[in-house]
Amino acid sequence: MSTRSPARLVVALAVAGVLAIFLLYTAVAGHSTPTLTPSQIQGKSGKLAVVGTVVGKLRGDSHGTSGLRFQLVDPQGQKTKRVDVVYRGAAPPPLFRVGRSVVVSGTYVHGQLQGTDIVTKCPSKYTSSAS
């Protein structure tokens, strides 16, 4: 390694530049998933995650062929846009129920989210009692 500062600076900047490009490439190249609220989902399709509050009746069974069916609305603000969810797989986390904020990951096709994973928000310390 050169002992001259300018050379070190060039090397450092080069490393930083390569790293930045690498990160940008990796980030854009598909390791990220769109995370939307029900009001943002119109016109979208494919793999995505929806953040929302569970509303309506819970119908069916996640282990059954028809799956567990429910709807999501925006956690804050607009409550009129709803997303239909069909979830199949392991039973949802214990805290899952109507009124809870959840993140459902899956594939959005024909106006329906086919969920494969549900994360119920942790009963965090930093929330208002209403949430």
Partner: protein, 650 residues
Amino acid sequence: MADLGRAALVVTLGLAVYSLVAGGIAARRSERRLAASARNALYCSFASTLVAAAVLATALVRHDFSFKYVAAHTNRHLPVAYTLSAFWGGQEGSLLLWLLVLTGYGALAVAINRRLLRDLTAWVVPVIGGIATFFSFVLVAVASPFGTQTAPFDGNGLTPSLQNPYMVAHPPMLYLGYVGLSVPFAFAAGALLSGRTDERWIIATRRWTLAAWAFLGFGQLLGAHWAYVEVGWGGYYAWDPVENAALMPWLAATAFLHSVMVQERKGMLKVWNMVLVALAFELSVFGTFLTRSGVVNSIHSFSKSSIGPWFLVFVVISSVFSLALIMWRLPLLKAKTKLESALSREAAFLYNNLLLVALCLTILWGVLWPIVTQLVKGETRTMGRPYYDFFLRTFGLPLLLLMGIGPLIAWRKTSLRGLTRTLAWPVGAAVVTGVALAAAGADSSTPGLIAYTFSAFVLATIMVELVRGTRATGSLFLLVARNRRRYGGYVVHAAIVLLAIGIAGSSAYSSSVERRLTLGQSMTVAGYTLTNRGVTVDSKANVTETRAHLAVKGPWSGTISSGDNQYVNPPEPSREVGIKTDWLRGEDLYVIVDESHPKTGLIYVQVLVKPLVNLIWIAGIVFLFGSAVALWPDAREQRRLVARFATAVP
């Protein structure tokens, strides 16, 4: 009583503002009496914050539900330990704890150093005062824990999953770590403001940094263990933004702890150290902003809180302040010596720092990615686990290797021949381990095999160092006692190796099977056969416990139970996993029954076998021990430092 708490916080705010303004004027004009007055104001701010904290603690213990905070986070049924832990269980209380620790740490650090580093501590007072001003303002004006109401008969209580001993210790540990990073930051800023940019500020804050770093590291492991035993998904770290918020400052502080050794020894990396200490501090505040603002989606935070924008403003102002200070004092931060060889101890520290900071910034990039994509593309995108896992392997594995090489390289320069001779035994041990593990089938995961091989290498280098040192001194105890920092560091390295082995084993070599089991039906996972023996329901005063019982045969035989609890007050469920630890193999049999039918005995069960996962928790204890060794006061070291810097203390 709430009035007393509110008044105490207003007094703290006044004292903090005074120590900021008067302290700044005193330091600028070198007015000793005014400086002493500002310093006393800082001491008193701790006392007034202590009064506010005592008011809240008393209200909690007395179940005084006229305090909104007490009613929101406790109820009459809650055991005393969890009632007290509600102090930091809510936003306002946790901010009060932050202010208490900050004023306490600040007052103590200033008191210890006020005579020996007079010029520097004169500037530390207004910096700590500035930080305390922000927190006390938030507590007075935005998020007061002393809001009152007509007292209800009972409170909301604490969520059952938070009623866990780990949750009593985990948050305060993190706060001791987060807030502890304010001390080296304040001393670094003090050094820049006073123009005293030699190594004294580093020596004065070395133990503060080490203690904060140890608390932050151990606190994260406590949180990981809580998630493992309580949340019931079989994992311990989810790369969630709030978890990352604690990891990032820890990584920056780890880099700082290593790079200060280069500055102490060679007078190099002065700018870098200033940047690192500022980065660690800013990330600790940024973490709080992430937790409370709701700006990124996290499994830990639901809603947008009113304090988020205030924290963002504070992070921006303090970052600009830090950068401006460093730029202003660049001429004073020139290195005394230059890097002479790429094969030297200082070069190894530099590589270690680049990797740690790269990992830290990569994680930061992942955390900020939803905000970036929202701003650029109008669509929020979230980084998944593969992104973080990829960069953990990319930067973590070379870091592991460097942990073995670094301590064996000499300062200034090392010949390739000398290095080869030094590394012969450790390399031999690593190769033998790698080949043996590959032959045993561990090559099913290449990163896992590399992690184990590098771990063997690092452990062998530590052994070589200990054997060589013991031969020279004649006693292992004497060896460690004479250089606690170095050998404490080796113990911490051993802890990191255990952590790496545990993470690699439990992630790369774990087995998981999900099944629907009728009564009497069996399943097999990694040598264990589990048979469904039925479901029981047990109703108690405040909880109904549903448990599925499975008979286990295999490396361990017996019965394991898992199910859920439904509480009456608060009306919350919790998942109860079954964990059987085989300490000899370091392996866990982890059973999650996510649905059970008491009448028919039908269950849906997920069974995981997680090899070596317990090494992660053992690593926590070793980490704490190593940190304690490195922190322990050392009279010989102090004499050496006093001789070097006539007016400095470690």
